[in-house]
């Protein structure tokens, strides 16, 4: 009665075949990542010395280091976050916890999704029009980081809103029934239980903006600046733009230099991702309901 029939055996063979096809596709995905990383580490690794990281470029960027670009990227990303995170979180709290379900809310949500889909070069042109020209910030760190912030906003909003929505609605109703206001409920129950998720989203967003080139190249990042920025109205160098410049625009750059810059960018991005994965694991370890 429990002996396998021919039909069972055929089904089993077919299902194994499909499993292997899917496994192959998955392995195919990993391949490019491994090749890129391997190449970068092998060729860029030796370039990443302390001098390379902390010295100015010399001899028309064909020698010396990348310190201004390294520092510039950190400043741009940090300032972009300072602008986008408070605004994004506040907007997400409103949309998730306060907004009534009507056409206005729905259009705002639609607008946010569309904003997330806008190509970064279009954000760049908006940044030029709005921050560089209209507000008169000039091509500056301020204009560039505001442009990055606009680009980061929808992602911060969506990540935050999803973390808030992941807190069961029953918790809110229980608090309301005890006479808590919406804000008391948010502060005591909803936010403490979504803050890790929000942080994860924000960190992932940081790693994305760190690598962006288009939004900053017209608004504040420069080809070459012989000094470190003194105010937020100065221009700055940035890793992503620097990589583009030394790979394509400057003759005589040592062949391994671009690999070193690319490796540094990847290291920044991957360590951010690792941080966010760490958060998630920590979260899972402390399951709250």
């Amino acid at each position: 009665m429990f002996a396998a029939t021919d039909r069972n055996r055929t089904n089993d063979r077919i299902q194994r075949r499909y499993r292997n096809v899917f496994l192959g596709m998955t392995l195919l995905l990993v391949l490019p990542v491994l090749i890129i990383l391997g190449l970068l580490v092998v060729r860029g690794g030796p370039v990443l010395t302390a001098e390379f990281l902390f010295e100015f470029p010399k001899s028309g960027m064909t020698a010396g280091g990348i310190f201004p670009a390294f520092l510039g990227t950190i400043i741009l990303v940090t300032m972009g976050l300072v602008f986008s995170v408070p605004l994004g979180i506040a907007a997400a709290i409103y949309l998730s916890e306060y907004a009534p379900d009507n056409w206005l809310t729905r259009s705002i949500n639609l607008a946010i999704i569309n904003l997330a889909g806008v190509p970064s070069i279009v954000h760049a042109l908006f940044g030029v029009g709005a921050f560089v020209i209209f507000f008169g910030f000039g091509t500056s760190i301020l204009a560039a980081s505001l442009t990055l912030a606009i680009m980061a906003l929808p992602v911060v909003i969506v990540a935050t809103r999803e973390s808030l929505q992941a807190v069961p609605h029953a918790f809110r109703e229980a608090c309301w029934a005890m006479g808590a206001t919406r804000w008391q409920t948010i502060r005591r129950v909803v936010l403490p239980n979504s803050v890790s998720g929000i942080l994860t989203g924000v960190i992932l967003e940081v790693s994305r903006t760190a690598g962006e080139t288009a939004p900053i190249m017209f608004t504040g990042a420069a080809f070459f600046v012989p000094f470190l920025p003194q105010t937020i109205f100065d221009k700055t160098m940035a890793l992503s733009l620097h990589l583009f410049v030394i790979s394509t625009q400057v003759p005589g750059v040592p062949e391994d230099f671009p690999y070193g810059v690319a490796l540094l960018l990847i290291i920044i991005v991957l360590s951010m991702n690792a941080l966010s994965i760490g958060f998630r694991t920590w979260l899972r370890g402390r399951k709250k309901w």
Partner: protein
């Protein structure tokens, strides 16, 4: 019979969500220190009825309530401070809701909202409420573990302790036994028998026999209206004039 003073007086209550009416023309009173049972099949409007009492419609823009609900002699919508109204009314939900706070903080939540800060006072409230909810012995050694990680039955008693921490005039239970085991159900029923000495209870239940065991009077809701309200005894002794009620009580539908 218990005191006949009415603490909640409902006149011609109707509730709609958008254009869909879920309850219409309900008129009833709830008397001090009684347990009022409300029975009826799913979709009869029982939960909406409870939500109208503590004005949860304020959190749901599509919920429209008409008619009057006099609680302690004042229309609930005339209470300028809906938060103060809700603090007088304890609510227990169908699914146990242990907030993701410590057991202690769960029970101290409402007292803290009311401005109580002294540790000694909060300690006293937490112990008293957990004792009355028959949960103290099980959690007294782990008051700082998460309330949301207790077992379902414990969470439901935690919810009751939390409701009691408000010192409510009225306790509303919405099908509290739906997700807890029979033993916990019986323990909670015992708790309710004790509590009726001090407060008024509205018990919405999906278990007809639970209403029979606990309620002084029972209302039968069906398809968005109240079919009848009478003493539990008469309802279950077959003195009802309404065939729907008899069919429901005898388990012929619902």
């Amino acid at each position: 019979m218990n005191g006949s003073e009415s603490i909640l007086d409902v006149r011609d209550l109707s509730i709609a969500y958008g254009s869909k009416t879920v309850l219409s023309g309900v008129t009833l009173d709830v008397r001090e220190n009684e347990i009022l049972g409300i029975i009826g099949p799913a979709g009869a409007g029982k939960t909406s009825f409870l939500q109208a009492i503590n004005r949860m419609d304020a959190f749901n823009a599509s919920m429209k309530v008409t008619g009057t609900l006099n609680f302690l002699g004042r229309d609930v919508r005339a209470w300028r401070n809906a938060y103060a109204l809700r603090r007088q009314i304890g609510v227990v939900f169908p699914l146990p809701v242990g907030l993701p706070l410590t057991v202690y903080d769960n029970v101290a939540f409402a007292p803290r909202l009311a401005g109580k800060r002294s540790r000694a006072e909060l300690d006293e409230i937490v112990e008293r409420c957990l004792r009355r909810a028959a949960l103290w012995d099980e959690v007294k050694d782990r008051l700082d573990s998460l309330g949301s990680l207790l077992s379902g039955g414990q969470q439901q008693r935690l919810t009751i302790a939390r409701a009691l921490s408000q010192d409510p005039v009225l306790l509303m239970l919405d099908e509290f036994s739906i997700a807890v085991d029979p033993v916990t159900t019986m323990r909670i029923e015992d708790v309710l028998k004790e509590l009726r000495q001090e407060m008024t209870i509205i018990l919405v239940t999906n278990l007809v026999q639970q209403a029979r065991r606990l309620a002084d009077r029972t209302a039968f809701f069906l398809d968005g209206r109240m079919v009848e309200l009478g003493s539990t005894e008469s309802l279950f002794n077959g003195e009802t004039l309404f065939p729907e009620t008899r069919d429901y009580i005898e388990g012929r539908f619902g």
